[in-house]
């Protein structure tokens, strides 16, 4: 006897993410899923954003091991909660749900969810975020949109960090933008340097507008 099932195994992730999304929306939390390569500057971006944007923010940190990022953020007064995935290469909606059970996040604030450094799997696991930001560093090469189209096509904005290294690593901006523009008609790309601070204002201003829009809904 044949039994038809037709069940997509990835569907449940979307359902769990939607549950998170609703839960965070009820509390006025604008969740920002920050993805990117290991070492691209995800934590640095959060750190510098907190310095420039006077809106309450908290961070859920995802790493396979250690609490390095969480400790750093707490040292500078940013509430942070560490998820150790114990080797899993991405955050999942159910991990974020558990974090939300345990982490007191003040209502009407920004909740950065710093994902595990990974350009592949993180793209496939929605967490319930309002914004998806991809951070890449100039030192990683200008071909990333061509090699990892999935994560770039689902992004709301890209932060191109370490622009202070552009010349030293022969980063070809035109090629990078060609890849991005193949995937999107209009995608904000913020060329920044966390080290020098250059370009951070544009990013922070854009983020402020997104937050205001989110709370206005």
């Amino acid at each position: 006897m044949e039994i038809k099932i037709a069940q997509d195994l990835f569907e449940n992730e979307a359902k769990l993410a939607d549950a998170n999304k609703e839960r965070m929306k009820q509390r006025g939390l604008m969740a920002v899923n920050i993805m990117g390569t290991p070492g691209a500057g995800k934590t640095a971006i959060i750190k510098n954003t907190a310095r420039l944007l006077k809106i309450p923010m908290s961070v859920i940190e995802g790493d396979p091991a250690s609490s390095i990022d969480t400790d750093l953020l707490k040292t500078i007064g940013i509430p942070a909660y560490q998820i150790n995935t114990e080797g899993i290469c991405h955050l999942e909606a159910k991990m974020v749900a558990k974090a939300l059970d345990e982490f007191e996040v003040p209502p009407r604030s920004i909740l950065f969810i710093e994902n595990v450094g990974n350009l592949i799997c993180t793209a496939s696991y929605p967490l319930g975020e309002a914004l998806r930001i991809v951070v890449v560093g100039a030192s990683e090469g200008d071909d990333k949109p061509f090699k990892y189209p999935d994560i770039f096509q689902t992004a709301n904005a890209v932060i191109l960090n370490k622009m202070d290294l552009q010349a030293a690593v022969d980063f070809n901006l035109e090629r990078f933008y060609k890849g991005i523009q193949s995937l999107h008609n209009k995608l904000p790309v913020f060329e920044v340097s966390c080290k020098t601070g250059k370009g951070m204002e544009s990013w922070v201003n854009w983020l402020a507008v997104q937050v205001a829009t989110f709370w206005a809904r």
Partner: protein
């Protein structure tokens, strides 16, 4: 990638469905895997054999259908079939966007006694 937890889901779903229909044995499981899903069929097979040992599904044949990816070019405004190692639109050469087709891992059906 992530085949262990995926196969656990497959295993649980198959057993639930089989039991719900009063079956004694699961003889076949048909699964569609998108070429861009990152799922390796032989890893699923490997984990399934481990999980199903001694259960009603232990002798089930796993049949995998590979689903080709469809990409979408935002400039030509049309879908195209992905060819090996190439994500570029055959008409204008721009990088194509992924669509849902080619990223799935779907349990299509099971056969039981």
């Amino acid at each position: 990638m992530h085949e262990m937890s995926l196969t656990e889901k497959i295993y649980r779903l198959v057993l639930t469905e089989a039991k719900a229909h009063g079956a004694e044995r699961v003889t076949k499981i048909t699964i569609s895997i998108g070429e861009l899903s990152g799922v390796a069929a032989d890893s699923v097979e490997f984990y399934f054999r481990m999980l199903a040992k001694g259960t009603m599904a232990q002798d089930a044949i796993l049949e995998f259908n590979r689903v080709s990816a469809r990409l979408f070019c935002i400039y030509c405004e049309k879908e195209f079939n992905k060819v090996a190692r190439d994500f570029f639109c055959p008409d204008c050469g721009n990088l194509g966007r992924l669509t849902a087709k080619g990223q799935e891992c779907t349990i299509e059906s099971i056969e039981v006694d």
